[in-house]
Amino acid sequence: MGEAPALEGRCICGGAGWWLAERPQDATTCNCTFCRRFGVMMAYAEDGPGGTITGETRLYLWGPRAIALHLCPTCGSYLGWTEVARGGPRRFAANLRLALDPDSVADIPVQPFEGLVSFEDLPKRGQCLADLWA
């Protein structure tokens, strides 16, 4: 990373993290069986130039295996995912729950995604991330 990242995140124990080159326009929440267990808030970027997951992680694969889910091997935190390797640029997603400074992401709009049945974005409800945490 050349310039300072726009956002950084760190897991509960501090052993792994992510950074994002640019502040995301919104963050996706999802009701699939994995995402709901972590209350995830995802920001998407191109892996490498747009940011990446850092530190030692363990991969969890399920379903169609198009993406690898990154977990901290020590504390279990869900950092985000990377697209499983194929030609060309890879996408990655950062779980904004792990932002170093919660105030830095509090006003990012929520984009709900129906990840159980229809697999499509739901209409925005005018919420921001702070509305979904304590």
């Binding site: 897991c11 509960i12 124990c13 929440t29 999802c30 009701n31 069986t33 994995f34 995402c35 709901r36 267990r37 972590f38 209350g39 995830v40 969890y60 399920w62 977990l71 901290c72 020590t74 504390c75 279990g76 935190s77 869900y78 729950r97 792990l98 919660p102 709900p112 979904l132 945490w133 304590a134």
Partner: protein, 132 residues
């Protein structure tokens, strides 16, 4: 049929069972609970709460509570007090995020502002409001 709520991590290896129905869910804004999106139901080991499955655990900074997650899928399933109470009971809490959504959606949420030391907090809304 006696009421119960079941929770399991995504891969299904770690489980908890709540005999009866929890009264509320606690959402805390500390760095740990925020990162895990935890929604806690407090109880006692071997009473309302029983757990199963292999876990990995870590101690909170004050070393009074151990947090247990699944080593395969990462799901934070429950915490457990290190010390037992004088009466022999042990404090525990389960993470309601591991339950089926319908089983916990209507529970009232107690918001704890741990960052500003405002405990026990205030009750506002239902679990469904925070779900996704």
């Amino acid at each position: 049929m006696s009421a119960a709520v079941e929770g399991s991590c995504h891969c299904g290896a770690v489980r908890w069972h709540w005999a009866g129905a929890p009264e509320s869910a606690t959402a805390c804004n500390c760095g740990l609970c925020r990162r895990a999106a935890a929604l806690w139901a407090y109880g006692w080991e071997g009473e309302a709460i029983t757990v199963s499955g292999p876990t990995r655990s870590f101690l909170r900074g004050d070393r009074e509570i151990e947090f247990h997650h699944c080593p395969t899928c990462g799901g934070l399933a429950y915490w457990r007090a290190v010390a037992v109470q004088p009466d022999g009971r042990r404090r525990m809490a389960v993470n309601l995020r591991m339950a089926e959504p319908e089983a916990v959606a209507d529970l009232p949420v107690r918001h704890v502002d741990m960052l500003r030391g405002e405990v026990p907090g205030y009750v506002k809304g239902r679990v469904a409001d925070l779900w996704f």
